[in-house]
């Protein structure tokens, strides 16, 4: 697949259809891929990698590129990334006409930290062949079943369908029955004090690095309220850990109805806090209150929480919350 993608991209470079591409760059290990901009076909041929560790969602990088750079930029998007792309498009954060999308097929991505946890930290190389992951270590070659080391977010994959692309590699995928709300239900079924303690424990590990916010394709504000001196909530940390936890809750509110559930927040969290569950709870609630809505599904449908319809004349706006537990 990688070589086909490279071949096609080189063609696009040569035909001057695109002037740059954003993709995954080879690192020191084959699981150490850096989202990166390729400015020439030579660079791309040499350093582009698409493999089981190409997890990074590249859509958000397009904001800056389409704001600043001239010419068309090619982007590689996995199915889940296309939802983020649509969402950004809907919010006018990127210019569609400056982007060329190659949809790349996606099986589950692998989680290097799971592999290391299982097989040791002295890993030199990891590769997956169907169901088995082969790992080269300083200690020799080891194997592990793929199912044990799949990236958490991919275990609840919502869709293999690319909702937007100019060109698609592989077969058109389908929306999946992800069962992704099962985890939310577990939380919902907790007693309030249990749930409170669950989140307090999880969030207590937060180091305040902002990786979740800065990677999030829904967090695209020119100036985040948490960085804005005039906002009244700006503070690197609060002296009180409860207020620090509030960062995540406020952030979840800010992306409510806009979050596509791409799972980047949890993936990049250095402390493995399941932040996506906060967002997913909102998605579930919105679905229950206002009918199913998937952010990024298309660019026409507006989220129920960020829309006013003429039929919203008061008080018909207020629906009976029949499904509220």
């Amino acid at each position: 697949m990688q070589s086909e993608i490279i071949k096609r991209t080189v063609e696009l470079f040569n035909s001057e259809e695109i002037v740059r591409a954003i993709g995954w760059r080879k690192g020191d290990f084959d699981y150490d891929l850096n989202p990166s901009i390729f400015k020439s076909s030579e660079d791309l041929e040499k350093n582009f990698v698409y493999n089981d560790f190409s997890s990074a969602n590249l859509s958000k990088f397009l904001i800056k590129i389409s704001q600043k750079e001239d010419g068309k930029t090619l982007v590689f998007l996995k199915s889940c990334d296309t939802y983020s792309f649509n969402s950004l498009l809907q919010e006018h954060r990127i210019s569609r006409d400056k982007i060329y999308i190659i949809g790349v097929p996606c099986e589950e991505n692998l989680d290097p930290s799971k592999i290391k946890a299982a097989l040791g930290e002295d890993v030199l190389s990891m590769s997956c062949d169907g169901e088995t992951v082969t790992v080269e270590t300083l200690d020799g070659t080891k194997t592990i079943s793929k199912s044990e080391v799949i990236l958490d977010r991919c275990l609840a994959c919502k869709s293999r369908k690319h909702v937007v692309y100019d060109e698609l590699f592989g077969e058109e995928g389908e929306v999946l029955d992800s069962k992704r709300f099962d985890q939310v239900e577990i939380l919902e079924n907790m007693k309030p004090e249990e749930r409170y303690s669950f989140w307090r424990t999880e969030l207590s590990r937060c180091i305040g690095c902002n990786a979740c916010r800065d990677i999030c394709p829904a967090c695209t504000c020119e100036k985040c309220v948490f960085d804005n001196r005039d906002s009244g909530v700006e503070n690197k940390v609060a002296t009180n850990d409860f207020e620090e936890n509030m960062f995540h809750i406020i952030r979840a509110f800010h992306v409510a109805g806009r979050c596509t559930d791409c799972g980047e927040c949890s993936r990049v969290c250095p402390e493995d806090i399941p932040l996506h569950l906060l967002n997913r709870k909102f998605i579930k609630d919105i679905n229950e209150f206002y009918g199913n809505y998937q952010a990024g599904d298309d660019i026409e449908t507006l989220a129920p929480l960020t829309r006013f319809d003429a039929v919203d004349v008061e008080p018909s706006i207020v629906k009976t919350r029949e499904n509220v537990k």
């Binding site: 020191d28 290990f29 989202p35 990166s36 990074a56 690095c209 902002n210 990786a211 609060a238 002296t239």
Partner: protein, 341 residues
Amino acid sequence: MLTLNASQLDEFFALIEKKRELYLPVENKTGKSEYKRWVEGDKYSTALRTVKSAKNFFFAKSENLYDLKMDHKNVEVIDTREDIKEFVIFGVRGCDVKSFDILDNVYLQDPVDTYYKNRRDHGLVISMACSKPATTCFCALFDIDATSPNGDIQAWNVEDKFYFNPLTEKGDAFVEEFKECFTDEDSKPVEKQKEETLNIIERLPFVNLNMEGFGVEDKLKAIFDRPEWEDLSSTCIGCGTCTYVCPTCQCFDIKDFNVGDGSIKRFRCWDSCMYSDFTQMAAANPRLTQTARFRQRFMHKLVYYPIKNEGIYGCVGCGRCLVSCPVQMNIVKVIKAMGDN
């Protein structure tokens, strides 16, 4: 060498905890290890690294400097510093121990930071030699011997035994205080483990990187002006993950927190040179692009710091940034791109 059976470890911990506060790496619910105050039942984690470094013990993520009160036109400054209880950090890896030296160079230089010194004076470090380094480790690049870490007391864990060797007066006194816990045994197993570990370290992918040209004044501008910074930083998202997991990152911010009862806590907290507002001033900001900010971080570690501190780099090769960076950009990639590798 002084030894302790693994089976007696908890007893030893309980004894320490009776007299001091004891902190050590413990596995958390995600399976990773973190420093925490020891309580009965906590098992020492032999994991290679904790997610956060040990710098928090001396340079706190957030700490109150003093309180302020304003009553109409009057302002009061209240010193809130307290006596710190003696504490012990157990199981610090060689890289993290080295990071304390790097922080010392900043916080103990004139004017001495009393908050830092206070904790430094009251903390005792028991380090732990590495036996299974990771392929992302490169402490040897900075002349750190992971098999023989510094600290007040150095320690090894060989099979079901722990070996201890005090290095400082503080360490001697501690060993003396707890002497009933230890027995004296031959240190051969330690030597054997060291040899085996060094053998692994030699084979690690990054230990032989070329550091030529970094840390010297005459190459400063040349490195600063290298075009590679642009590409390396092109997808940097400007989060602070690298700086917050880094054991040597030392920058802070000072802010006011309104407690709500009329008093203000003026606190300091970790800051990150990766943040766009790090150098934001009322009128201007000298580092306007993420490239400039990205460059500052690595220039600081690889060039500015060593120029100011006799060639000691501001990195200890712990490898945390290699694991944690959301876009897999890290100091190794920078060294490779900027150095002659």
